[in-house]
Structures are given as structure tokens and as C-alpha cells.
């Protein structure tokens, strides 16, 4: 059905080729779907209204012998469809060589190989015009307290980022890096487990301005954290370079549900944060169509990710524009938080000399529930 929730390239929707291409292999069973040709997927995503695709080297180019041929076909597909490659990332987690990490592997040879793999892929990304290079350290971490020296691992992480930044500068590529935090799975405890930990690391880099984040809804929610609040902090730091949208049901295995599924109210606030917080990047989906679906079902999920985003965007805009909401925000004193606590020129002595009506302040209702219920009713479409 074509309606106001039908996506167009202006909506900046982007998909990892590995999403629709996921074959359904998990810890408890092998693939349930055939291999999807990534070039075919590109045409199909364009058809559905996407603006861009992204990939890991291994998604697009699993076979070295076919590398140039596949790249040719892929470039043709991009040209035919008008899609762009907005982001590229490197798979440094699937091959058993990375079983104990990649850029923070104890084994120095593995680290060197990982870095070489990343560099080669940066060149490819640049050649395809990708402006963002994501680094997800899926196997950087440990299940065992002594097996990973965290301080040394942080050193290696920092060094690797400094190295790739220097390389990009030297090559004159127009490219920034985005770290993707995750608390666990497939490793017991992954380094940079949350948005905050990754921003912290960036503050120690040589070129902090070149490195930001690619947070994923489900990854933060696996730690019980509020994703909208997390990306709002990332935006505050100027570090929301990219985003991975999907769905999750709290602390458990990484579900990678289509966007909207899982924590729907969280998805509403996520869209609100992206749309009102100054985020200009792609709306990128990183999810897994359930193993129960055939390819028709896969394309349903891809369409639904975009459709749900547009529905939520529409509702979030209506919420913010509703005069009753404006009044409710006022009643909840939300705009007042933008006023500095100290008046211009005011001294701490002034502030301390003042007397406060503690009892009065304590008994003043904040009217947060009414505001929240207004949001609920916009979401449910009953206003």
C-alpha cells in the first residue's frame, strides 16, 4: 500500500546487506534460507525505498576470486538504482582467527592481520564513497577474568584507532569512524560495553574529532539502558555519527528484531531524539529477519522497518506540535531546565544566602504522568 508512510530516498533509509542476507544460522541450528546475492539485494532494497546500503567486506565479497567481478556488478547496481554506500565495516568477528579478539587479540599476529583487513576495507570504502566506517569489536573481550589485560587492551584499541585515523588523513579520505558498543554476546564481556564507555575511549585519542559512535538499539537495551537517553547523551557530546535501528526485549540474547518490534515506546522516543536532536545521518537498520521467514517474509521485514520509522516520525512530530503537549511540557517545567542554575553575574554567596521554600517545592506536583500519557495517546493514534 502506497501512502504517507511509503519511504523514499529523502528519508535516508539504509540497510546492512547482511540484514536481509542473514540466512538464519544460530547457536542451535544452521541456515534456514539460501544465500542471497548481495547485488540482487541492492536492487530489491532500492525498490522498497531505501537510499543506501552498507556492508562488511565478507558480506559483499566472500570470495576473493570473484572480488572484482562482484564489485563491478555492485557498482552497476548502485548506478542503476541511485543507491549510495554510506557506510562500510569490516568483519573481524566471524572467522575463527578472531576467536579471541581482533585489534585487541592477545595474539599479536591476529592483531596485525585484523588491522591489515581493516585498512584494505577502508580503501574499498573510500573508493565507494562511504563517509562512515563502523568498527564493531564483537570478539574484543573475554569470558575469563585473567585472560584479557584490560589496560593493555585499551592501549591497543587506542593505538589502532590512532593508526586508522592517521591513515585516513594521510590518504585524504573524507571518512569518519564510528564505534559500536555492545555489552556481551558473542563474548562474555565485550570491551566498550555501552555508549558511555566508547565516548570515554574517544576522549583519549589523537584525533577525537574523527571518531564517534554507531550505537545500536538492542545493544544498549541488552544492558537495560534507555536507548533514547543514550543517543541524547551521544548527541550532546557531538558523537552520534551513525545509528543502528532494530528491536529487543531487554536483557537476554541479541534479538535483532525489525525496528519497532520489542520496545515500541522506546522506539518512539528514539525517533523523537533523532528527529529533534540534530541527527543528520542515515537511518540505518541492523536487524535479523527471523529464521521462520522465507524471502517474501524477509522483504516484509525490511519494508516494515522503514514503515515503522515513518509512522513513529509522523507521530513524534504531531506530539511535539500539539498545543496541549506544549502546555504539558511547560507544566512539567521541561523548558525551565534550559535556564542556567545561576543567573548571569550571580555569585555562589548569593545563591547560598537565599532561602528556599523546601516544603513548597517538595509538594509541587511535576505533572510528568499527564505529559507521558499525551505521548502514549499520540503513539496509539487516539488523539
Amino acid at each position: 500500500m502506497s501512502d504517507r508512510f511509503t519511504p523514499s530516498p529523502d528519508d535516508k533509509f539504509s540497510f546492512g546487506l547482511w540484514t536481509v542476507g542473514w540466512q538464519g544460522a544460530d547457536v542451535f541450528g544452521p541456515a534456514s534460507r539460501d544465500l542471497l546475492d548481495p547485488v540482487e539485494a541492492t536492487y530489491q532494497l532500492a525498490e522498497l525505498g531505501a537510499a543506501a546500503v552498507t556492508f562488511h567486506d565478507d558480506d559483499l565479497l566472500p570470495d576473493e576470486a570473484q572480488r572484482e567481478a562482484t564489485l563491478d556488478r555492485f557498482r552497476t547496481a548502485l548506478s542503476d538504482t541511485g543507491l549510495v554506500v554510506e557506510m562500510v565495516t569490516t568483519n573481524t568477528f566471524s572467522d575463527p582467527v578472531f576467536k579471541e579478539g581482533a585489534i585487541t587479540a592477545n595474539n599479536r599476529e591476529v592483531r596485525r592481520y585484523a588491522l591489515a583487513k581493516v585498512l584494505r576495507n577502508i580503501d574499498l570504502a573510500a573508493s565507494l564513497g562511504a563517509k562512515t566506517f563502523v568498527m564493531w569489536g564483537g570478539r574484543e573481550g573475554a569470558e575469563h577474568g585473567a585472560s584479557k589485560n584490560v589496560g593493555a587492551a585499551m592501549d591497543r584499541f587506542r593505538d589502532a584507532l590512532d593508526t586508522v585515523c592517521a591513515y585516513v588523513l594521510e590518504q585524504g579520505y573524507d571518512m569518519r569512524f564510528a564505534l559500536e558498543p555492545k555489552p556481551n554476546e558473542p563474548r562474555g564481556d565485550i570491551l566498550l560495553p555501552s555508549i558511555g564507555h566508547a565516548i570515554a575511549l574517544i576522549s583519549e585519542l589523537e584525533h577525537p574529532e574523527m571518531v564517534g559512535l554507531n550505537p545500536e538499539v538492542g545493544h544498549e537495551e541488552m544492558a537495560g539502558l534507555n536507548f533514547a537517553q543514550g543517543i541524547a547523551q551521544a548527541l550532546w557530546h557531538g558523537k552520534l555519527f551513525h545509528v543502528d535501528l532494530n528491536g529487543q526485549h531487554g536483557p537476554r540474547f541479541d534479538q535483532d528484531l525489525r525496528f519497532g518490534a520489542g520496545n515500541l515506546r522506546g522506539a518512539f522516543w528514539t525517533v523523537d531524539a533523532l528527529e529533534t536532536g540534530g541527527y543528520e545521518g542515515p537511518r540505518h537498520f541492523d536487524y535479523k529477519p527471523p529464521r521462520t521467514e522465507d524471502m517474501a517474509g524477509v522483504w516484509e521485514t525490511a519494508a516494515a522497518c522503514m514503515r515503522n520509522y515513518l509512522i513513529l516520525k509522523d507521530k513524534a512530530a504531531a506530539f511535539r506540535a500539539d498545543p496541549e503537549v506544549v502546555g504539558a511540557l511547560e507544566a512539567a517545567r521541561v523548558p525551565e531546565l534550559s535556564e542556567p542554575t545561576l543567573a548571569p553575574g550571580e555569585t555562589l554567596a548569593d545563591l547560598r544566602a537565599e532561602s528556599y521554600d523546601i516544603e513548597g517545592l517538595a509538594t509541587t506536583g511535576m505533572a510528568f504522568e499527564r505529559l507521558d500519557q499525551l505521548a502514549m495517546e499520540h503513539l496509539l493514534g487516539v488523539r
Copy 2:
């Protein structure tokens, strides 16, 4: 029983007066124990082997009329026992005036009152010789997506920290600040939910060198995060200014068990991280003796916190000294992670030109399980 696990002031154990003073009131019932005189608690903690105490203003000085009298008695107790006040913190979360936050309350009057309360307490802390001032923003946050503008809240948080740092500098106090992260409870989602988020904020301050962290075991574990790994990252940033030791069983309500209870293996790695990672500060306990205990039980828990720390410290030292462990670390290539990935003078071209034995690297076992089992057996006392 007096043995090698009997604490002495050299062990730098410190207790919040609110810990042994917790009366047992929770969401489902009122106090089960009488009010404990904080001065009496000070004597008792000294008796048990503690080196220091800490407090929130409201713990020590609930009654304004008794303020000076209580302070006199408290100073006498410190002098009698040799205990020091190593840290002070302000209660900006109990009084209903702070029901929607303190330094990030929407209500500007509340923010001003909170700041005044903090400043007054900084003066008190300085007068008592405390070198660390902890700030836990227990009510900074929200249950509702729209009720808190996260960007504005981060501005206010930053401003407040800049203000108190400037104040301390101006007064010439020898004092640093330590932020205490927590993901949730009592608010639905608390700002600065993890170690990482707090370090990230610090990187935006005017005086980042004056502000660090006071992470709490249970708070990180409520988000399913590995505490030892978290403090190792904090140490790497030079930000572990203080620590709150207790016990927790993963994502659920804040249990505040005595240290050692809950995740015991995590406690072992926590002690190992503190003892080998260069942490020089107090070993501070922040826990709640269960509501089932009378005062005799309360003192049992306080003694057990220290005893468990010393037992674990002993075991961690034995683990690190064991030649078999040294060999196992070598076999697991742990020291190799301290070697930079690039050799001095090596170029990326060199690195990329190299050929890697991927198959060989992939099939090399890491021997992490053997190493971990050695740690287990040290912990269990069977080696």
C-alpha cells in the same frame, strides 16, 4: 577470631555511616531497626578494624539544632579512634524536594537549593579533612521520555561540576570529586548510567583532572556489566578516585549485599583489579545489612565485608605469584597484548605486505579455560 584476615587501619577500610545505620525501610515496609547513633557507629567501626568513615550530611546531621553538638561529639570520636573522614557526600535524593532530580531538576529553585546544600557540605567535608567528595545523582533522570530534556540536563550537570570545581579551587581545598554511576532505581532511567557515561561527561569539564569516579559493584552489575573490567577501564583513564564495594545478583533491584555475597568470582577479580591496577584509595563499603538482622547481625556484616576483602586479596596475590599461573598467562599470550601491534618504525605498508597464516592462527588454542580454572582453584582454596 583473630587471624591473618583480621583488618587493621593499614588495610584502608572505610564505611559509609549510612550502611551500618540503615534501618531497613524499603518500598514494602518501614524500619526494622532503631536509629543508630552515627557517633557510636564510628567507635564500633574503629573497634572492628576500619580506618575511615564517610557520610551524607543527613546521616550525621539530620537535626539542624543538634548540628554543632553532634559535630563536636563526632570530632571527639575521630580523635579517640584515629579514624579519618576520607569522603563526604550530600544527600540530594531522599527529601521529596528532590523527587524529580537535584542538580538536574527541571525546577530551577530545586537546582539552586541542591547546589547550596552541596556547597555547604563541601565546606564541612573540607573542615573534616575529606579528600574526596562523592556525587551520586540518585534522582537525576526520568521515567518518562519527554519529561527530561537530556541535553539540557547534561548542560546543567556539567555546569554544576564546573561550579563546584571552581569553588574548591577558589577555597583552596584539597579535594576531588567522584561521580557515582547507576543505571536505574529509584528513577526509571538515571543519567550517567554506567562508568563509561560518567567518564564521558568528565571529558567535557573545565577541570577534568578534578573529577573522577566512585563506581559501585552492584550498580554496574545491575546493568549486567563486568565490574572488574569497568574499573580497569576507569583506571586506564586515571579516573578511579574511589570505589563502593558490595554485592549484587545481576539485573534486579539494588541489593547492596555485603562484599563477597552475590557475584563472588566477580569480587575476586575486583580485588585483583584494585590490588594490581594501581588503586591507592580507600576500600570503601556501601551495602545494606539485610532487614532480617538485629544490631549484632549488622556488626557481623561489617566485619564480614572486611574479612572477605582480605581473604580475596590473599588469594589474588597467591594466584598472581603462582608459577603455574605465570606459565598459564604466558600460554594464554596475556603478556603479548602489551606489545604494540606495529613494531617501532614499521609502516602500514609493511604490515599489509606481510602474509598471515590464517588457518594456523585460527586453530591455535588460547588455553583460557586452564587459566580460569587455576583462578577458580585459588579462589576455592584447593591449590
Copy 3:
């Protein structure tokens, strides 16, 4: 606003007097609201459209001296408003006497006192016409492995239930019991932590037909369990005697949000399960208006609980009636699950002799995502 989502007594909405009466005391701070007269609350709930109220003895009758006077006023309120008391429960968790349990306390005197308190309250419940008596064993459990003999505790739980059932039969009361499971908080691990554990216990009783469940949304979700699936199993066992509706954000402290807040999609499926699964009982809310609200905010939350239920009921009915949904259910083979696996008269030998097109079955898509997206769009009000 009066519209089709305005509740009436026919909707069978019921509120615990302790919900709107919650004063906001939690582990980190005292009450933020004044005591609400329970009789006044009754009038107000009637005004908002509720059909019934429920209470713990201590909510309605905290003061023994005022017992008869309060009961008189309460009966008048019921008569004035037409509200009924559909359920009564006993507070066996707040008073410190119950700090280690009530009917499974180690201390036999405590158990005896608890049982006497329950019996007295059963008489009161019967005198007020309540047909359901809820038992939430909030403090039955332990934080310590050895402190509670689980087998003995199960014996005492069973005995207590057999005793109260026999008492009700003997008195000729028209009353059934409903157990309320919860995994933890305020105790570290509570006995009967889930819907399943409680049904299991019931199977061992002398009068299993008299005992069922009062599951609470948030309690199951604190264990990461799917509430709609849980009550569907309870309905299958004929054991859904009552229900506690509220909101929660997964494994963390017990949030007791208003119904709809928290896991909204879960709330939709919960309403669907109640409305299509044969549940005839009250729609009972057990939630806590946040500490940020004054009394106006409290009444907003009470109204919102009912309104959200009615909105979701409307949407669930529209979903089930939508011909496209009927088709999608068929495509997902949902009705086929109601066909027995063996045909009438068919032997296992027949079944085993058959040959199965495993490859064909494996590659057949289940079209679950399309069905789920239809539900999403009904929920969002865009169909």
C-alpha cells in the same frame, strides 16, 4: 474528555486502595505525598469510572481503634457509589515482624500470627462480599542459601493453603484464593517466583479447585518472561482467578508503572489474551503513581490505566476482526495448531510409516512477520 474510552462499571475496572494511596516512600526516601483517606479514594475512583476496589487490611484499617468507624464509613461509600469489594488481601510483608517471612517464616510464632491475621481478614473479606482473596508472599524467601529450607517452606505453604481453604469451606464463604508470584524484591529470591511455580504448588493441595493465581504484569517481566504467554498458560490450567495490571521495563526493580507504560506491545497482547481467553474477572490495577506526582497527578494515572486498557481492548478487537488479519493467521497456520497431531484412530505405526517432505517443510515461510506487522499497525492506529 468523554469518549468511547471513558470507563464505566461494566468494564469491571478495579483498583487497590494502596495504589492511589501510595505515598511515595521507597528505599531512598520517605513519603512525598500525604496520607490519602481510603474512603475518600473510594469515592474518587467511583467518579473516574471504576467498578470495584480492593485492599490489604493495613491500607483500610491501619488503626485498630478506628476499625469499626472506618468500616462504617467505607460501607457507606460502597453503598453511595455502587462500588463493590471484589478482592481483599492481607499485608504480611510490611510490619518488621514479617521480615523473614510470614506463613513460611522460620519463627513459628510469626507463622502463627500471620495465619491469625489472614484468617481475621478472610472474615472481613467475606463480610464485605469479596469473592477473591489474594495471597502475595512478599517476604517468603531468602537472600541466603542456608537460611531457608525450601522443602520445609513448601510444606508450610501447602499447609497454610489447605488450612485457609478448609476454613472457608467450613464457614461456607463463597471465596477463592489467588496466589501472586514474584521473583524477587524485597527478598533476594522469593518462593513461587513465577506463574508456573505457583500453579505447580496448587497441584499439591487438598482443594486445588479453590486456589488459582493473581499474576502481575511487572512481576513476570522482572524475570524477562512474556506476561501474555504466562496468563495464557494459567488460563489453560483454569487458574487465572484474578490479574494485576501495571507496567515494567524488564529485569530491574519493581516499577509498578501505570498500565500501558513500560512494555506497550506486551500490554496489547495481555489485553488480547484476557479478552479472547475467557477471563471473566475484574481488570485490576496494581501500580504506583510516581513519586513526582501530586494528588492531581495520581488521579491522572488512575484514569490513564483504565483509558489505556479500553484503547487496547478496542484495538485488539479490531485486530481480531480484520479480514486481512484472519487471512494472515491462516497463512501463518495458526488455526492448524488446534488440529490434533494424530488423526482419530490413527496409530503411531501409521504416523511413523509416513514419509515427510523435510526439505519442503523446512523452506516453507511462516509469514509470522507480516502477521506481527499487522498487529503493530492496529496498535499504532494506522490501519
Copy 4:
């Protein structure tokens, strides 16, 4: 090292062939180890001190053409080593044919094929002398509210169990069934998510005495539940037919760590519950050697599972035998819970007529912390 923690067949240790045989394929990467010949594994496990092995049909007999040859070799291995097959289970979750369930699949053909597969494997189990047949419904469940009719699924689950029980009776096999609960992964929400839900289902069967449980440590802990408490309830119902021992770190993906790793204090209480609660069955390990290990590491983990069990068994016995513990249990009034609440012949009128010293009972300390600390010190080996 051979010492008192060296296992012998008398210890009844049993291993799934799929444990040491796990090749390391997960959602994020393929196998990191070669296929292990299950017959070779049998010899190796015997060498390490195991008493028994267990398997899924697909573990032992992946290749139909080799079925008889492999069975011959396997029988020889059993005869050579003295190992027995104590349990057999059917893989109804890996093949994509089971992607939406097996005995509760919507697709009736799938259900029929699943049942035939189970029946065939029951015959094999009987022929090998296995007394327990485990059923883990790993794919029985849903990610989508409408895609699974839970009531109908419970009907099919019950029917299937009634069918297989009747078959076993008819064939005269000496065999019982054990259900294995799990809350989620690989499905979003699995039917029978906890120990309690499975016992509840059993109460509705035609032959409830033939069906019990095979609970797994990690599965219950993924829901934040206390495993020792769970199996104690299962033992109380007479339903602990088998057990799966491993390690887990709370709500997150299924880690399947070696026994002892993860929640060590939980492991101590688990061993205590098994050893003192009347459990006579095998001590069966179901874990996954981490992907980082080669085969030498795999065998380390298998040995460590047994060794950790024996260490904990030794400590649990010492704890129970320690006179100080006996005194502490008395002080905590643990034995008092075994006294019925009502005295023989006592009426409820007697009980209600009594007066209770509520204040005195409320202020009596329970001394639970001292008891728990004694357990801690036994565990740590410092008593």
C-alpha cells in the same frame, strides 16, 4: 593431578556428547574446531572419570548411511569403557524444518515428523538402556504475539507427552521423560519457560508419574531465578528426574560455561541441594567449551566440570558437618520451619485466641548473615 577431587564412576558424572563435541559455531561465526568423533569422545570421557554419556540422535548419528556402523562402534566403546548411556534426547531444534517448533509447530506435518523422530529415538534409547529421555523444546515458542496460540500449543504439548508415555508403557520400556525448561533463545519466548511452568504442565498429564524435569542451571539463571531454590521445589514435587549442570552470568545469552564458572555461590548451593535433597540421578554436564579453546582446552573444561563438582561437594559436606554451622542454623531457626504451624489437635480458634508479642518478634534478629558468612568461608576454604 590425582587427588581427592579426581572423579570416578561412583560419582555418576555424565556428559552430553554434544558438549565436548561443540565446534564453536554461533550467531556471529562458524565452527572453530573440527568435528569430534562421538565414539572417540566416549573413550576420552571414560578416561577422565565420567560414568555415562548422553546424546541427541543427531550428535551420534548424523549420517543415516553410517547409522548401524556407528552404533556398533559406539556399543563397543561403551563395553570397552564401562560407560553407560543414562539419557538420550532428540534434536528437534536444529534442522530448519523445526524453525517454528516441533511438537507444537503450527504446521501439523512438522509436528508429525517431530513425533516420529522422537519415537524412533525412544526405541534407540531403550535399546541402549537409557532410563531417562529428555525433551527440550528449544523452538517451541514465538517472537510474535499472534503467531502461536498458547492454549492450543499446550494441548499439543500435553497430547505429545501422553502419546510418548503410552508408547513407552505399551513397549514395556523402563524409561521416564524429563522436560527441560528455558525462557528464551533461540526463540523470543519459549513455552515452559521455567521449572515451575513445566511442573504445572505435568500435573495435567495422563501419566504424571512418568514425567519430570531436567532443569539447567543457566536456563533458570537467564530468568534471574535461583537454581538451587528451583530444584529444591522440583525435589519437593518429586520431579527432579535429571539435571543439567553448567554456568551462566544472569540474564543474557545462554553462556553454557563449565560448571562452577559464572555464579559460583549458586553452584555451591546447587551441589548442596542435590547432595542433601535426595537426588540420586546422574550429575550431568551440559555446557559449551568456549570457542577460544582447541581440543586440549576442551578436555580441560570437561575435567574441570567434574573437579569443581567434587570440590563443592566436599565443601558442602564440611559446611553441613561443622558444629558451628549446626549452631548457626539453630540460631537462624532453620529447623523450626519443619515444625507444623498448628500443633496436633489445635484449632484455628485456639490459634486466633493467642496473643502475640509482635514487638518482640519484630526486633528479634535472625542471624542469617552469620550463617551465610560461615557458608562463604567454607566455600573459600578458610575454615
